[in-house]
Amino acid sequence: MRRQSVSRALFELFSSMRFAISLLTIIAIASIIGTVLKQNEPYPSYVIEFGQFWFGIFEWLGLFDVYHSAWFLVILLFLVTSTALCIYRNTPGMLREMRSYREHAGESSLKAFSHQTEFAIAGEQEQRVAQLAQWLDARRYAHKRQQRSDGSILLAGKSGSLQKLGYFFAHGAIVLICIGGLMDGNVLLKLQQLSGDKHAETRDLPQSKVPSASRLGTGNLSYRGNVTIPAGSSADVVFLNTGEGYMVQELPFDLRLDRFHIEHYPTGQPKLFASDVTITDKATGKSQKTTIKVNHPLVFDGVSIYQASFGDGGSKLELAQWETLGVQTRPRMLPARSQQNFAYQAGKQQYTLEIGDFRLFNIENVDTPPGQHQSAMQDAVAVTAPKSTKNIGPSIQFKLRDQQGQAREYQNYMQPVSIDGRAYFLFGMRTSPGEPFTYLRIPADETGKIDTYMRLRAMLLDKSQASGLAETAASGTIGDKVQNAAYKTQFRQSVEWALDRFAHGGFPEIDRFLQTRVPADKREIVARTYVRLMQGIAVEAYQRVREQAGQAREDITPERFRFVIDSLVAISTSFDYGAPVLLQLTGFDEVKASGFQITRSPGKNLVYLGSLMLVLGVFAMFYIKEKRVWLLVKPHSVLFAMSANRKGSDFDREYQQNSDQLEQLLKG
């Protein structure tokens, strides 16, 4: 007995309205968590953001993948149960309601209605009843006649019974949608993981070496995974991300990427991503060629293939190796391939060179200063925006890892980039992945090449050139007059000293030296003198570089002077570059890769069916109006009563209209 009452109480609770509303609220609030906290990020980034302590708590609570956490699924399951029980509980009553005319309503209860009135009648009762039945037909009320023992006749009418159907549709839809969703979720996989049949692989293995405990067969009911295929290659598995690791899902077909297309609008925004693919059925061996685009997935044997991303698929690169700080004037060429790691020697150091992405396009925002209000008002008429993006050409990204495992990341652009109207080769560097790149800007020469800078750098850093440069600079500044010989020697020495310091650490090195040697009050003047001195030397070096190349000396125009100054700055900042070589991208043969999302979701049809039912149900519930009328025909009067499950002004109007019509009808 007691047991039964507990289950009864549970049934009451689960099928109660209050419980359902509470669930709706809890789901809404739980859902918020997942929108505020970024979901499914790699775990280390959470540790960085929240610290180890909170990471542990959040992980335990499943907050990093709220919507697939056990507790969230349990709440959803509660909602399904509650809705299903609600349907189960209400069905008998509602079906009875739908069929019933409520013809047993007594006179006194009808008289208690808020919408009722009584009309006096004369004449034959039976004739009146026939008249009223006709009226009910005209007003589209289905009706039933009941002879009462007191001699009165009741006509009970109803319309809009289908409204109740709306309830079944809408609530049944919720159950269907949730079941479909659970089918397509990773519940099955989770269960397999719990039972120990399958577990995620955490090691970075080649696909073929992944053990079978982390492989899922083509029979797997539902999955969603990603695979990247370089042009010319193919794939027959996808990787499923499980948070702590990954699993390999085998596909019933082999997907080969023939070509990836990308198109841009003139403004630089992407216009088209499309992959030409060949898909081969593993069972039959039949192939077909087709194109997959964003918004146009390919569905093959119940598996859908979507265009998800794109990238570099291992492009052939040609790199020029320059000593960052050295006297070499011609580069050594290095053939390489992106997405590849190899051992690399630079100077005496052993490194691993990890070449990452090659990117053909780099669309950058060119910042326009925010418009003033007046011009903004004028601009407001035009619907075209000034072009604010531009393509700054190909780039490569790579890491240079030393033997201690420390790595710096580099990003180099192939073409010179215009900054403030001058062209620079950009060599970006950062010490940790989260930082922005800082750029070494090497000025391009008048032919748009890096070579003049490299020769100038060689000249300024070459110790054997120092005395010659110092001599010329001293003569140029002081002149050849004999009485200045002593001063000239002193001057030459300081030039040689400055060059030597500069070659050991750029301007900061000179500055450091001055800090210790020159009294504070004079430091600035002396520093400025040295800077001017270095500029003079660099100008002379520039002329000599020209002579070496067999060119005549030339006038130092402001542009050329600027080139020399930029070169000095570039050499000076090269000391912070952190790598002994500059790898300049000089040529490439691009191979693109396309990222596909491959899914199987058999629950989809159930969800769509549920959705259709939901819409039909919602509209039926709101817009089919369930109304009932009673006409109790007594010998000398007719009692008219009306009710609806939703009363409002529409209902009042209809009641009024009905009363008026009946009054007229019954007058005659």
């Binding site: 309205m17 359902a20 509303i21 709706l24 609220t25 789901i27 809404a28 859902s31 997942g34 929108t35 970024k38 709220v66 919507y67 008249q131 006709q134 009226w135 005209a138 007003r139 589209r140 969703g181 969603r224 609008y265 003139p266 403004t267 925004q269 992407p270 216009k271 088209l272 685009k293 964003v294 918004n295 146009h296 997935p297 979507y306 418009g371 209000h373 903004a376 601009d379 407001a380 008429v381 035009a382 619907v383 075209t384 925006a385 999302q597 491959i598 899914t599 979701s601 989809k604 969800v607 769509y608 959705s611 939901l614 819409v615 919602v618 709101f622 939703r646 409002g648 002004s649 009808l665």
Partner: protein, 431 residues
């Protein structure tokens, strides 16, 4: 048999007259012309959408007669604008009609000005109890809606003048959908105004439209958001034509119901002491001012705005029933509020389903728990709960009115806040 004729409620089709027929023929002719002229550029889905929307607009015009005039007039003016353009976008800066009236931007500016005017006039009519002012306000609202509609149609055409590969329906970014929001909210209001023969609620509904217009102007002047941008691949889909408008019927209807909730609260007396609310309101105003002037920490302005918003809510509660003598019967406000939430909920359901179907095509899954999707679900759950409380529990009155009013914040967050603060796949409208 005589009886059947005189008492039968004529169905919608039986009530149609000549004007309805002409209107339908006109719309079908327009759709036929479009299909004939541009059919080669459309796929099957787009053709279905063209005929479907023609059918939908015919049905709407038959159901709500005002639409029979509104659509042809605005359509004709927009068509006139495209003729003045003569295939050259630069004409907008020269031709008088375009420059000052009906190029898309001037038209939207007119819409903005007219909505502001209508708001003021509705308040004047409400507090001055002037029927004439109220009629003027209605006319202004219709004009504003017309200008906005013309602006949208012309903007659609202009996008094709920028480039045939750029052209698209103007519901693709936050600027465009804000115009859409204003139009749909205004149309919903105008429908209820006519249906319930009551012009007093416009003062409240137009407030939320004015707020949207204010945002629109800021967005345009500060961010130059009005420039037509080409569509990124993810948005190049006919689903957009269905998903976005359906969503905005939902957002518009929910906003409308929130303002009616406020009207309901101000028209119903509550006998409990209002002193605490006055004190709280004063305190929150004080905090808002303090934060704004002293700027004690970063983002103080956000908290200042939040504080001011709470103060407004406190003021509403403190002034319960204050406007009772100006406003219609609370029962009517309550009923319109319910109807508005019902229609909003129905369309929001459709929109979310359409969104899921689009997501299945574009992102590879009908539900990815993307922040925008999740917030759509939260909004849906919120109003589902509201409807259950009212329809099943039979709850009425101030609690539901407050709930509807607060619902505006949930809706606004889903509509705007998600784009501002949360990252996700819906990348169309970052601020």
């Amino acid at each position: 048999m005589q009886l059947t004729h005189s008492y039968a409620e004529p169905g919608l089709l039986q009530r149609l007259n000549l004007a309805d027929g002409l209107y339908a023929i006109l719309l079908l002719a327009v759709a036929g012309f479009a299909a004939n002229r541009y059919g080669a550029y459309m796929d099957g889905y787009e053709k279905a959408i063209l005929w479907g929307s023609a059918g939908g607009m015919i049905a709407l015009g038959w159901y709500w007669k005002a639409v029979r005039l509104f659509l042809p007039i605005t359509g004709a003016i927009a068509l006139f604008a495209t003729q003045v353009y003569n295939g050259n976008l630069a004409t907008a800066g020269q031709a008088f009609w375009l420059k000052y009236l009906i190029a898309s931007q001037p038209a939207i500016m007119w819409m903005s000005a007219l909505f502001f005017l209508a708001t003021g006039t509705y308040w004047l009519a409400l507090l001055g109890r002037s029927e004439f002012a109220a009629q003027t306000a209605t006319a202004l609202t219709w004009s504003a809606t017309g200008m906005g509609f013309i602006g949208m149609l012309v903007r659609w055409y202009e996008s094709y003048l920028i480039g045939t590969d750029v052209g698209h329906i103007p519901v693709s970014n936050l600027y465009e959908v804000f115009v859409l929001f204003c139009l749909i909210t205004a149309l919903l209001y105008l429908y209820y105004e006519e249906r319930y023969r009551n012009r007093q609620l416009g003062a409240f509904v137009l407030l939320v439209i004015s707020a949207a217009v204010g945002f629109l102007l800021w967005y345009m002047l500060e961010r130059q958001a009005h420039a037509i941008q080409p569509l990124i691949p993810a948005l190049q889909s006919w689903w957009m034509k269905l998903h976005v408008p359906a969503n905005f019927v939902g957002y518009g209807a929910f906003s409308l119901s929130a303002m009616l909730g406020v009207a309901y609260l101000l028209s119903t007396e509550d006998t409990s002491s209002k002193k605490p609310f006055w004190i709280a309101a004063t305190a929150f105003v004080g905090i808002a001012l303090l934060l704004r002037t002293a700027q004690p920490f970063a983002n103080a302005d956000y908290w200042s705005n939040a504080s001011a918003t709470i103060a407004v809510l406190m003021l509403i509660e403190a002034n319960r029933g204050r406007l009772a003598r100006f406003l219609p019967q609370p029962e009517m406000v309550d009923e319109i509020m319910y109807k508005s939430i019902a229609i909003g909920f129905a369309f929001f359901t459709i929109a979310t389903i359409l969104g899921a179907m689009w997501a299945a095509d574009a992102w590879g899954g009908y539900w990815s728990w993307d922040p925008k999707e999740t917030w759509a679900l939260i909004v849906w759950l919120n109003y589902a709960a509201w409807l259950h409380m009212r329809l099943v529990k039979g709850l009425r009155g101030a609690i539901l009115a407050w709930w509807a009013a607060i619902g505006l914040f949930v809706t606004t967050f889903a509509f705007l806040g998600v784009n501002m603060w949360l990252s996700g796949l819906h990348s169309y409208g970052t601020l």
